[in-house]
Amino acid sequence: MILTPRRIVGLALIALALACAALADVIAPHDPLRSSVAFLSPPSAAHALGTDELGRDVLSRVIHGARTSLVIGFGAAVVAMAIGAPVGLFAGYFGGRVDVVTVVLIDLFVSLPGLVLALVITVMVGPSLQNLALVLGFVMWPGVARLVRGQVLAIREATFIEAARAVGGTPAWIISRHVWPNTMRVAAAQFAVSVSFAIFTSSSLSFLGLGIPPPTPDWGGMVRTGYDFLAINPLLSLGPGAAVTVTVLGFYLVGSSVE
């Protein structure tokens, strides 16, 4: 991968989010779950972003929230990839009726707004870390499938695919060893975009009250709680909001830098 300015910024932002998630216990100044009597205190040396309505340190909660967001983001992207990539490979390679049915199915999914679909399913299955990742992955797989299928359509006409058939390759071998590696570049980009979409959407769901149940620190939920106290300490909302922006932007910059 060539490092363009766009990618350097994106990777730096991702690195920041990953560092927060991995080193949360070390770098967070306080326990994100421990409340104190200092409710809604303004920013100070001890609490850089102040405390929330239960007296918990907001900065520590923002740092720990990176874990929740990244787990959902990556989990959902893995689910989307695991469903979408095989479907796209299969439909694109074999074409014909299988392809037509798949494309109709994909178009059906894509025509529904992702957030609404995720909202409806989350209401049905109930919010939890695991469910959110599964639901968002399920919402995103058609996008992956469509992209992979498009790539496969171009690749399957290449001479090296014909050459692979001419040495007696089975369809499974040709798809896994010759077609898939050639779609991986675009699939990886779509993976990054999926992570950013999943984090953004899960934060939106949390903001609407369908997110991770408390007391787990979660950016979307924190923005929602802080919303009630904007006049007292706007950083309650702005802190986690900025964290969502930075993380989503990082993954999006990297993902969209390919084509």
Partner: protein
Amino acid sequence: MSALLEVRDLTVRFSGRGQVVNAVHRVSFDLAPGETVALVGESGCGKSTIGLAIMGLTGVARAGDLTGAITLTFKAGKRRDLMGLSDRAMQAVRGNEVAMIFQEPMSSLNPVHTVGWQIREAITQHQGASRTAADDSALGLLKQLGIPDAERCLRAYPHQLSGGMRQRVMIAIALSCRPSLLIADEPTTALDVTIQAQILELLKRLQAQTGMAILFITHNFGVVAEIAKRTMVMYAGQIVEAGAVSEVFHAPRMPYTRALLDSLPRLDRAAPGGRLPAIPGQVPSPSALPPGCAFHPRCRYALPGLCDGRTPALEMCDDRRVVRCLRWTEIAA
């Protein structure tokens, strides 16, 4: 001695959007073990389609669009009609019994894998060889092909190799399972002339070593003379003349062959007025062939009332020579 490959009445039609294109029409020929036969013709005459049909790779699925018989004698000795084989059985034939090399060495290799990987995969497809054993035979193959610094070549990606090198790698992949028949579809067309000569020499040497037969598809008569003993000339999906290369070249019977040979630049025969004679007109569209002889609108020997009405059959003119022309006896005289 029975033939290695017997093609009988092979017909390939591409149909779609209400159009039917007769790419190959009732083509029959034999190939003896260890023999090289050149299939010559203009672009679009169906010569590549014949190669793909033998491999079962025409992509034609509709019943009736692919007819005839392609009988191959397997290495184990049994004879089977390839047209009747299942997809799975055909996969075992490709690479193992019949291998193919293509015109474009640039795009015939997968850009994301190393050369060594691609040769090894071709080997492990058919033989239960271990990875290291396959790597060893890949190295051996490249050495046999006279590739200098074979170890480095195995680790290279296709874009790091020259066109001639890539075609050698393709040949190595094709030969990795020791097929008894190699279909070479214009393997030298994309290469420059010195490399062409090297590849032809290489194919001849490998043929002498392995005893495989080669069906060499080309539009280049110079290459035909270089590599083959026997040739078949195709026009509009049909064989129009076949025989020993020396005879066909020195005494072409079919006006098309004659016109093709006349349109080659030659040192010993300066063209009058300094211009090469060209064949007038265009190759007919295979979906709209003219009535009678397919070549008659472009033929300078064509007789109105004869050539545009009757369809010529392939006639034996002597024991090894066939020609498809209504007037070949008059023209030869």
